[in-house]
């Protein structure tokens, strides 16, 4: 067999391997709609009451990360409060994750802004890392099966809340 022939074989093999590797997925896809299971969220809130996201299985939960030093977090409080009001009767809850903050400042923020939902304290930020949070605020929509159905980086808006919640609720009401 000539050397030229070997060169052709090697180049063709390399191209073939590269094509196979290119189309291989990086990670196995989840069998369902692509929603990943929400990470654990357990801890005490600013009043010392214990919360566990697993206890809210069966409800739709907006998990929102915030801190008293974060200006956009202040802006989104009325939006989240309104969402809890408008969708509360359809079993939609809001659970805060107060991250990298001090309890005094966080309580002052809650009082000043009228935050109506409880917030698990994440003083060292490790729960936020568990959720893959990059900056504040970030909000996750967790469906009734405990999977992340939507994720928002930055302050939430009424439009975003409606956009992600309405289809989820409509799908539940649709005849199966």
């Amino acid at each position: 067999v000539s050397r030229r022939w070997w060169t052709v074989v090697v180049v063709a093999g390399a191209v073939l391997i590269s094509l196979v590797l290119w189309v291989l997925p990086g990670a196995p896809a989840e069998p369902d709609s692509g929603r990943r299971t929400a990470p654990a969220l357990t801890g005490t809130d600013l009043d010392g009451r214990r919360h566990d996201l697993r206890d809210l299985r069966g409800s739709i939960v907006l998990v929102t990360t915030w801190a008293s030093w974060c200006a956009p977090c202040r802006e989104e409080v009325p939006v989240l409060a309104a969402a809890a009001d408008r969708y509360g009767h359809r079993d939609v809850r809001v659970l805060g994750l107060n991250t990298q903050d001090t309890p005094e400042r966080a309580r002052a923020f809650v009082a000043a802004e009228g935050v109506p939902f409880p917030s698990v304290v994440d003083a060292d930020g490790t729960i936020s890392v568990e959720w893959g949070v990059r900056g504040l605020p970030e909000t996750f929509l967790v469906d009734r099966e405990g999977r992340v159905a939507a994720h928002r980086i930055g302050a939430v808006t009424t439009e975003w809340v409606d956009e992600v919640l309405e289809p989820l609720l409509a799908a539940e009401e649709a005849p199966s």
């Binding site: 391997i17 990943r36 200006a71 060292d124 890392v129 568990e130 990059r134």
Partner: protein, 300 residues
């Protein structure tokens, strides 16, 4: 047969050179403690909220939290690869400083082996002048690689020592350190102070601002930034910085004094309230008597 032996000897020599390069690049790993394991993993992760910093060296709050998580995983006995995968699941492959072993990332891992295989094939198959050229090229590449690996420590360690005979002042040295460690709040503050001392208040304010972003819960960098802005004639920006800082922490006496004074100068109604809060918090402050006099005069 003689040609075969010669080829085998060349391959062996090349393998030895590559192994030598590997050892040179790896260096002395030192004792393996939990801290070194955490640092090793953190060095391979990109800080998602920083510009071009790894998790090991970033002073950003998120990087600090990530180091805490890595520490927990190491304590639980997870391997570095498992921890890397854990982070990639949450932050995507872009959090990994090394390319992932999946999809297109495979190519980057296979590349060195491809080069090695091709070189071996060429060396065994080549004849005469071609073989000499291949060996010479390989030798140059290996030497360059060893030099690059040896100089690696210089690239990754901040060069803080003053070069002999250079006319660098403290600010220049600190500026160099900051360019190597842009996420270190302490270095930013030190550079800010050095620039402040040299009368370069505008530049100082920029570095205090960076320190304030890195330490959002600490009111001191924001106060220093505002003070530098005032001295560079930018009282408007200083007021905005102080007002934002006061929102985060309402009981910081220097912030109350400076913002109260700025509001006072601008004839703002709220100034007296801020200055009274300052007096309540720090009645023994050197400026307290002057503030009392101001407030009393205004009340009459």
């Amino acid at each position: 047969v003689r040609g075969w032996w010669r080829g085998a000897a060349l391959v062996l020599a090349m393998l030895l050179a590559v192994l030598g390069l590997g050892f040179a690049a790896a260096g002395d790993p030192g004792p393996v403690t939990q801290e070194t394991q955490v640092r090793a993993v953190a060095s391979g992760l990109r800080c998602p909220s920083c510009a071009g910093e790894d998790v090991a060296d970033s002073a950003a709050p998120l990087a600090r939290a990530m180091r805490g998580v890595i520490d927990g995983h190491v304590a639980e006995g997870r391997s570095p690869d498992q921890i890397r995968d854990w982070f990639a699941e949450r932050y995507g492959d872009e959090v990994l400083l090394d390319p992932p072993r999946s999809g297109a990332g495979w190519w980057l891992w296979l590349l060195p082996f491809g080069v090695l295989g091709t070189a071996t094939w060429l060396m065994v198959g080549a004849r005469g002048r071609t073989r000499t050229a291949v060996v010479a090229t390989a030798a140059v590449l290996v030497c360059t690689g060893v030099w690059w690996a040896r100089s690696g420590a210089d690239r990754t360690t901040p060069a803080l020592a003053a070069p002999s005979g250079a006319d660098l002042d403290g600010a220049d040295l600190l500026a160099r350190a900051v360019s190597l460690e842009p996420g270190d709040a302490e270095l930013r503050l030190a550079l800010g102070r050095a620039l402040d001392g040299a009368g370069r208040t505008g530049e100082a304010a920029e570095h205090y601002a960076a320190a304030a972003r890195l330490r959002p819960l600490d009111p001191d960098p924001a106060y220093l930034q505002a003070f530098a802005l005032v001295r560079s004639g930018n009282s408007g920006d200083a007021r905005a910085v102080l007002e934002q800082s006061l929102d985060r922490r309402a009981e910081h006496a220097p912030t109350l004094l400076l913002l109260g004074t700025l509001w006072w100068e601008a004839g703002d109604q709220g100034a007296a309230g801020l200055l009274r809060r300052f007096l309540d918090l720090d009645p023994g402050h050197p400026a307290a008597d002057q503030v009392r006099v101001m407030l009393e005069e205004a009340a009459q």
